[in-house]
């Protein structure tokens, strides 16, 4: 294959095999229960094929393509966020500037300028946008608009761009390459969502935060914690420079922060009284519905890894 280190390649093939199993499973239950409607399950699995297909295709093509992919995902996420939250007509031009932060942020990733990557949005964009807002002169709703816009950029551009920065860290695990870090983060995060769902469905009784997300239970959360920590300890040393012990801790971090990301985005949607943040991904909803956990796991996993191993 195209230059993919062997450990990462093996995990990618495993993921594709899991998808084949899921598709076959769907075909079989659809055949055995022809009276039921499995449209949503079918859409969900088809969308997984597309998402994983696009990710793997970009990763096989090379680092630059994968960085461009995540820049594009940030654009879609920021657009979706700014389309559902209240903004003022007067802020249209400021929002246009906010979009321009995306190519710059990912350019800093691609040239491995860590110092700028880490302060560009929290400092320069943070200070630039309110200045630009003052120039338009509309003061009614100023505080809320400044807060909403900066929060949007932090979540969808700053946090998500950490995934891309994993690709340009110095290579420490030669057998997995830096792709291994991205695969580890993304698949642990998504697997955490799945585990919470399955544990919650089978054992769940006590909701964690019933006001925000009645389906998230302690049983689901703790069951996923056990599963994810163990699985991370198992494949962490294979895909990342972390030892078994440190991989267990990485799994725990992804488990807890993934849960928090999920409920934070749920709280946003509840505030706006909407079920999905968009309709881009059939069966899943919008980009934010799919990337909610990753927004929180990406920076926390990144800085843990960077502190420990670099």
């Amino acid at each position: 294959m195209l230059n993919i280190p062997q450990n990462s390649l093996l995990i990618m093939l495993t993921v594709l095999a899991l998808l084949v199993v899921a598709s076959l499973f769907r075909l079989i239950i659809e055949k055995n229960h022809p009276e039921k409607d499995y449209t949503e399950l079918r859409q969900r699995i088809q969308s997984w094929w597309w998402m994983i297909g696009i990710l793997f295709a970009c990763m096989s093509l090379g680092t630059q393509y994968t960085i461009i992919l995540f820049a594009f995902i940030s654009f879609l996420a920021l657009k979706e966020f700014l389309s559902i939250v209240p903004t003022r007509q007067a802020d249209r031009r400021i929002i246009f500037w906010a979009y321009l932060s995306i190519p710059l942020q990912y350019y800093f990733v691609s040239i491995q300028w860590y110092g700028m990557f880490i302060i560009f949005i929290p400092i320069y964009i943070f200070l630039f946008l309110p200045m630009r807002m003052v120039l338009t002169g509309e003061t009614k709703g100023f505080i809320r608009a400044a807060g909403v816009m900066h929060w949007a950029i932090m979540l969808t551009v700053f946090c998500l761009s950490h995934i891309a920065y994993l690709l340009v860290l110095p290579e420490k695990n030669i057998d997995a390459g830096n792709i291994g870090l991205v695969i580890f983060l993304i698949f642990m995060t998504q697997f955490n969502d799945v585990c919470q769902y399955i544990w919650g469905k089978t054992l769940g009784k006590h909701p964690v935060i019933p006001k925000v997300s009645p389906n998230k239970t302690w049983e689901g959360f703790l069951g996923a914690m056990l599963t994810i920590t163990l699985v991370a300890g198992f494949i962490g040393p294979y895909l990342t420079p972390l030892s078994i012990k440190l991989s267990l801790l990485a799994g725990l971090i992804i488990n807890v922060s993934g849960f928090i990301g999920d409920v934070v985005v749920s709280a946003i949607k509840r505030d706006l009284e909407i079920k999905d943040s968009g309709a881009l991904i059939p069966g899943h909803g919008g980009i934010l519905d799919r990337f909610d956990s990753l927004i929180f796991t990406a920076p926390l996993f990144f800085h843990y890894l960077r502190y420990i191993a670099y």
Binding site: F75, K79, S83, I84, R93, G278
Partner: protein
């Protein structure tokens, strides 16, 4: 030649623009009429409304989709008129000059006789961003004269943010396109207007971007 230009315009510019720069939350796509005669009655907030609705159709049907648009605006300069008539394929409507109703809607009836699908904005103008203005009665008078033409209500939301009236800078925003079931026949123009207003109100519940405005 114009047909080729029209397809190129949509393939190279409008479809990518609608898919990537905007992004649609489409609901009820199966309700979209595939054959004429039919009328799509949509609310109007932006020049993008027409382009978004046309982009929902496959390329081979594009020439059957005919937006009804104000003659006083779209035919005001030669270049704009050429573009509106040949690339978009509008049916010009005289808003300003007083003409008999029969003559006023003759272009619409001719297109419907040719089994075209008309896009009509019953508010008559784009109005204030993201607000539905008063619905005019013209649409009722067109449908009332024929009994072969279904009216499909479409509610759009968000495009008034992306490109409102009087702005030239397009800013990316997702927008909702909710396609309803066909409107039942109405006895009077008043009933028709009330029905359409109610339908728009009901379709609003499927919108995701409704809260995108501070007051």
């Amino acid at each position: 030649m114009n047909k080729v230009l029209k397809i190129l315009f949509f393939v190279l510019l409008i479809k990518p623009l609608v898919l990537v720069v905007l992004g649609l939350n489409i609901r009820g796509k199966n309700n979209l009429p595939q054959t004429g005669p039919a009328i799509i009655a949509a609310n109007h907030n932006s020049h993008l409304d027409t382009l978004v609705l046309m982009s929902l159709y496959p390329l081979h049907l594009l020439h059957k989709i005919r937006p009804v648009a104000a003659a006083d605006y779209f035919l005001s300069t030669p270049l704009r008129a050429w573009f509106a008539l040949n690339i978009i394929g509008i049916i010009p409507l005289e808003r300003k000059r007083r003409v008999a109703r029969k003559e006023l809607f003759s272009g619409c009836h001719k297109a419907l006789d040719d089994e075209d699908i008309l896009i009509i904005f019953p508010e008559g103008s784009r109005g204030r961003p993201e607000q539905i203005s008063n619905i005019k009665k013209g649409l009722f008078y067109i449908v009332n004269e024929r009994n072969d033409t279904p009216v499909i209500p479409v509610l759009m939301h968000g495009l008034g943010k992306a490109l409102p009236k009087g702005e030239a800078l397009l800013v990316p925003f997702n927008c909702d396109v909710v396609i309803g079931n066909l409107l039942p026949q109405a006895e009077t123009a008043g009933d028709f207007v009330t029905q359409l207003e109610q339908t728009y109100h009901e379709l609003k519940q499927y919108c995701i971007t409704l809260n995108n405005e501070t007051d």
